[in-house]
């Protein structure tokens, strides 16, 4: 009897392990069309270009030789000297509080700007160079290398500025970091255009127009799926943490949280005080509904986004939420970064269909088209997310 029981338990765990392994492989490594990651690349790159381009006027205030946080402060923080300079280390030792000392250890950040001579013209030149790499990254020119440089440029900018970052930057860094693991310029890029041009020139087939080269589809790759999955899981973590942590706050329970953000006139784009005069309870109802909407969306996102039924609804809610945040808080670039992350939940087929519908406006007669996507010989049908 014991033998049969042990064997049954063993079989159960063997099956469980095999099922998990199969599921893991399918989830992370199934080859997919890189169209979705290409769109993510374009949107991430465009947001990076915007953030760095508009910063040109104040870049020396942020990362110049006499920036808000100068290199003297950065060096002091990185070396840990600031603990002595402020007397903190001595006081913590006097109070025998070594845990506190350990918790206050300086962050380990890296930036290209840390190693540059502190001359403003040089800092401006390097910033402009990184801006250029962000433009080439967006356009998909020398995509692999410009991806690395765009990520490095933004990381260096944020860590050198030290106190200039906010939520948008962490999302942009996350997206550009993950994109380095695949060739996001495999389609919808100047790289693709160059490749297709060279290939067809050899075949003396230069009839199609330039957009056809740019939009030409690429072979499915496992790394495109891998990157898409990394972004998807990370987006679930972001929304899940943001939603669950809100449950610690009284205003998120009382329904006044959104009202408070509407009154934060340091952020807002318009005055919302008129809502208070619409009636005794109007403002609290508007706020309570918007607060409940935010909580429902953020907490349910990690669970419901994986289901076919809820995915379009949640993506529409994401657009609504970030449009609202953009309108109320003026955080348009943050919304753009978050929605770019949400794009990872749109299948490549759906993305192709959408691009064909909106940008190309015509069906190509050649090729075996399924759902707007031209299949290649030997291509496996991707498993839907």
């Amino acid at each position: 009897m014991w033998h049969a029981l042990v064997q049954a338990v063993g079989d159960y765990f063997r099956t469980l392990f095999q099922t998990l392994k199969r599921g893991w492989d399918t989830f992370w490594f199934t080859p997919t069309d890189p169209t979705t990651v290409a769109v993510i690349r374009i949107l991430t790159g465009a947001t990076l270009v915007y953030t760095h381009l508009v910063a040109l006027g104040v870049v020396l205030d942020l990362i110049g030789s006499h920036a808000w946080v100068d290199m003297r402060a950065i060096d002091s923080i990185r070396s840990g000297e600031f603990l002595d300079a402020t007397g903190f280390r001595q006081r913590a030792m006097d109070q025998n509080n070594r845990t506190l000392l350990r918790e206050t250890r300086p962050p380990v950040h890296y930036s290209v700007y840390y190693y540059l001579p502190q001359q403003d013209w040089l800092i401006l030149t390097v910033h402009s160079f990184f801006l250029l790499t962000m433009v080439t990254f967006t356009l998909g020119l020398f995509t692999r290398i410009s991806n690395v440089l765009a990520w490095l440029g933004h990381l260096s900018y944020i860590t050198r500025g030290y106190t200039i970052w906010f939520g948008m930057d962490t999302v942009l860094l996350m997206l550009s970091f993950y994109l380095m693991f695949t060739n996001s310029g495999a389609t919808l890029s100047l790289d693709r255009l160059r490749q297709e041009w060279a290939r067809r020139r050899n075949q003396n087939d230069l009839k199609p127009s330039w957009p056809d080269f740019f939009f030409a589809s690429a072979l499915p790759s496992w790394s495109a799926n891998f990157v898409t999955r990394l972004i998807q899981v990370h987006m679930c973590i972001i929304y899940g943490c943001a939603g669950l942590a809100k449950l610690q706050g009284g205003s998120w329970w009382s329904g006044t949280a959104v009202w408070i953000t509407m009154m934060t006139d340091e952020f807002t784009l318009m005055d919302f005080q008129w809502l208070a005069h619409l009636g005794r309870y109007t403002w609290i109802w508007v706020s309570a509904i918007a607060t409940a909407f935010t909580l429902f969306f953020e907490i349910s996102f990690p669970f419901l986004i994986w289901t076919r039924f809820w995915r379009p609804i949640l993506l529409a809610m994401a657009v609504l939420l970030h449009a609202g945040i953009g309108l109320v808080m003026g955080l348009g670039a943050f919304g753009a970064a978050m929605l770019t992350g949400c794009v990872s939940f749109i299948s490549p087929e759906g993305m192709r269909w959408f691009l064909d519908l909106t940008l190309r406006r015509k069906e190509k007669p050649d090729g075996d088209r399924v759902g707007g996507h031209t299949r290649h010989e030997g291509e496996r049908v991707p498993v839907p997310a």
């Binding site: 104040v58 990381l155 200039i164 943001a242 610690q248």
Partner: protein, 364 residues
């Protein structure tokens, strides 16, 4: 035996192993980042999470993946800004001040630049206070604040609006923010968003232009720290505290130490003096609401200061009265019978300053 040739587009076995290990490690470190952050003093991070997070600290920090993604938690809080008072040498041994507000919206053409500067102010104050010496900022913030002072000193080595001003002597740093944001009921009662009384500027420290912290002279210490606390204490015994603002003492000091010398000793017109001093927006708004405060006399002392603070408080109560709402009143039938109107007593007018006839206008 495992095939070395995976199907088209699929990775090899070892690539899968390496990629899987990366995924496991990466999300393990992200897990550390999101769980090892304390939302507030009341919601500390669990100790096991802190210990787990330490193992991947270097990886997270190097890639800037340390965000806990807790946007507007536990509650959306007031935005913290900073005010800098730059003191330059002036003629006749006097000082000329210039105020710089970080950030002021009008100074930026692009929203993104404004947002970055808002982060400069907010991230400094987000660190909180030094756990070993609570009256002092966190050591990281102390270091950053010294750097901010050096930046300001570099940016404004000369007074941007007064040619007669000399070298920059010192920089006072104030941390400013709102006490809270008005609810819909506040607004309906007349306590609107632009009411200057919502602001709470607090003097933090004085610095030399090279970022060294200076000892505060006893007279200023009394004005900036002891007297506001004393006034708050006196007012806390009554209902008056609700409409008292920390902006009043700071504005009174601005009037007596910055505005008064320009107006009465250097002969500037009131408008000119204000333009030259560039007061922060809430302070300028308060002075627009209570222009009587600008009519201070030629002699000043600490009693004048206290008097001015209390008068600003009284003036604002008259200028921005709190209107009772329908729901504040007792039910119909229980309300007191309205009295017949009597001749105006002048009680609804703000108290006027005594005439300025070459002697202290306030405080006597």
């Amino acid at each position: 035996m495992r095939s070395n040739n995976p199907p088209s587009g699929w990775p090899t076995h070892w690539v899968k192993v390496v990629a899987s290990l990366f995924v496991a490690w990466h999300f393990y470190s992200i897990f550390g980042a999101v769980t090892a952050t304390s939302t507030s003093m009341l919601h500390p991070a669990p100790l096991p999470a802190l210990q787990i997070a330490r193992t991947s600290y270097m990886y997270r920090e190097a890639l800037f993946l340390h965000n806990a993604y807790r946007f507007y938690v536990p509650d959306p809080g007031p935005v913290q800004t900073m005010w800098f008072r730059l003191e330059y040498e002036g003629p006749k041994g006097r000082s000329i001040a210039y105020w710089y507000e970080l950030p002021r919206r009008d100074d930026f053409s692009f929203r993104m630049s404004y947002q970055r500067h808002l982060s400069v102010s907010m991230l400094l104050q987000m660190q909180g206070y030094d756990p070993t010496k609570p009256e002092q900022l966190h050591p990281l913030s102390e270091t950053l604040q010294s750097s901010y002072v050096r930046h300001i000193a570099y940016k404004f080595p000369k007074h941007p609006r007064a040619e007669e001003a000399g070298e920059l002597k010192k920089i006072d740093v104030y941390h400013a923010g709102r006490v809270m944001y008005p609810t819909g009921d506040h607004i309906r009662r007349g306590l609107t968003l632009d009411d200057p009384r919502w602001y709470r500027p607090v003097f933090y420290a004085s610095y030399a232009p090279d970022g060294t912290k200076l000892e505060l002279d006893p007279a200023k210490k009394f004005l900036r720290q002891s007297l506001p606390e004393l006034l708050q204490g006196v007012l806390s015994q009554s209902e008056e505290q609700a409409s008292f603002s920390d902006l009043f003492p700071v504005t009174a000091e601005f009037l007596l130490y910055d505005y008064h010398p320009l107006r009465f000793e250097m002969g500037y017109e009131s408008k000119q003096a204000l333009e030259l001093l560039n007061p922060p927006a809430p302070m300028a708004r308060l002075l627009r609401e209570v222009p009587e405060a600008l009519d201070i006399g030629e002699v000043i002392n600490q009693r004048v200061y206290a008097d001015l603070v209390l008068r600003m408080h009284q003036w604002m109560k008259v200028r921005r009265p709190v209107r009772p709402l329908e729901e504040d009143l007792p039910p119909l039938g229980f309300r007191p019978v309205p009295q017949k109107p009597t001749a105006p007593t002048g009680a609804d007018k703000p108290p006027a300053l005594l005439p300025n006839s070459g002697r202290p206008a306030i405080g006597n």
